[in-house]
Symmetry: C2
Subunit: 299 residues, 2 copies
């Protein structure tokens, strides 16, 4: 065992850490120690970061097509990208960054707002189950089941003995889905309180953005620390081997997008989906179509 | 009344026909008279057509944002783009063309394959209901409830007295949803039998596309005329004032994409969504945030 550890360490030294290694939430994780303005890896300027992210499109769409192809032969795997973050943290921009390197026909987008009347009557995971991406697809959740241990906890929308049991429920639920082929990529877009303030001021300065502004957002800011504590709990209690959390410093939009694009590419590479082997005779099929072509031409 | 008609005619003469006017299926429609290679309107070359389509991005995303903003204040409207067409007709490319001019966070993509066991036990519209886009969003259906009067009719998957009743069922269902704010944009991507043959040969020529090829596709081509007849029936029986059908000549991909992009822009323009009037005091909110900023700075 000691020997194995040593060799693991040597390997870790040899290969540079992946973005997933850099951002993964481990047992010692402390959200207050993460600087939302920090550039963690990769290009330190906007133009280069945008170019590097865009350059991944060919590889990512190829992996995405393989994933879909795999599902046509009975494969059950799919990718689910969960996006969480404080208001103004840039979930719309993050979705755009993912879309830029993917084929849109394979994306399954879901936004979770306040639950409807029917959703309130059901278990909190009922509406999440219904939104799970089919095999071969890439799902994106704009907010998620984590709201049920975030706003619900901070605002006391259910009693503590209810929400406090949800961390284990979520883990069991994610494990069940991961056994059914779902690969989780859970990302928290982490902005600073100052950055949020600036973004709210920007919304007020642009009349076409006023509809996005809600005076309640400023009241909600009074609860900033409670929200950070709720995130800390969700991130550490629900970052598992089968569904790890990643925290993305998100004050700089171009860096947020670069990190997210790398996370998507790394995850798909590790999934390593393969084109299924087809059991038809290519030459015979070509001949069939060609013969038909001759018949068509002959009228 | 006669006078009104006259003035309508004069107006129709003055304004050039919209793409919707050119492609809309009316009572006299005959699918066999539509040439899938024809350039119906707009640029006649690929580069210009691509540029013109791309130039709509700013306007379309603005309209899309207004539509979403409207829903935040209780608006129920949403757009549903239905894509139908023979195999290889280019639904993936069409989705890409729509995505190019839209914000991806507002798109709701659904692909309908052969129904699952559970779906088979239910009414054919059950799975369609579950996939309807929420208010403020743009839904895209890759195939749809129309398969239940297309492949189902051609392949006799249910008795004739069942599928023959579905045209009226579909109309009633679409009318119900249109009263609930759904604006339908139903598009058939119309390719020629020769073009399909070429695209199938292209798939065979590229090993990474073999997974898309199914020897059954060639058998299915034997039923080409029956499929065209089934389309003719669906297009004419289900092109209504509240949910018209449009037939897009789709042999030329760049023209297909140009037409589709125009249809989306024209439809959103006619919907003319508006930013809601907000009832907060912008100056007061700015002051609140600024005061908070001063406090933050003071530490």
């Amino acid at each position: 065992m000691a020997k194995k550890k040593k060799s693991d360490k040597r390997e870790a030294k040899a290969a540079p850490p992946t973005v997933r290694d850099l951002l993964r939430v481990g047992p010692e994780f402390d959200l207050t120690a993460v600087d939302p303005r920090r550039v963690v890896a990769g290009p330190t300027d906007k133009v280069l970061a945008r170019a590097e992210a865009a350059a991944l499109e060919g590889e990512v769409t190829d992996l995405q097509e393989r994933l879909f192809a795999e599902s046509k032969q009975g494969g059950k795997r799919r990718l689910l990208i969960v996006l969480q973050g404080m208001d103004t943290s840039g979930k719309g921009g993050a979705v755009k960054a993912i879309d830029r390197v993917c084929e849109p026909i394979g994306l399954r987008m879901t936004s979770f707002g306040a639950p409807t009347k029917e959703e309130k009557r059901r278990h909190f995971l009922w509406r999440i189950d219904r939104a799970m991406p089919p095999a071969g697809a890439i799902g994106i959740f704009d907010r998620s089941h984590y709201e049920d241990v975030l706003i619900v906890r901070v605002r006391n929308l259910v009693p503590e003995d209810v929400w406090s049991g949800r961390y284990d429920e979520i883990n069991a639920w994610e494990q069940k889905w991961s056994e059914q082929g779902v690969v989780f990529l859970k990302c928290m877009l982490h902005i600073s309180k100052e950055e949020q303030q600036q973004r709210l001021l920007d919304r007020l300065a642009d009349p076409s953005k006023h509809w996005k502004y809600n005076p309640g957002d400023v009241d909600e800011r009074q609860l900033w620390d409670q929200y950070q504590a709720a995130y800390q709990a969700a991130l550490t209690r629900c970052s598992t081997a089968y569904a790890p959390w990643y925290v993305i410093p998100a004050d700089r939009k171009w860096h947020r997008d670069w990190l997210l694009t790398q996370l998507v590419a790394e995850t798909l590479r590790e999934m390593n989906p393969q084109y299924p082997t087809m059991d038809f005779d290519v030459a015979a099929e070509k001949a069939r179509l060609a013969a038909e072509k001759a018949r068509l031409a002959a009228g």
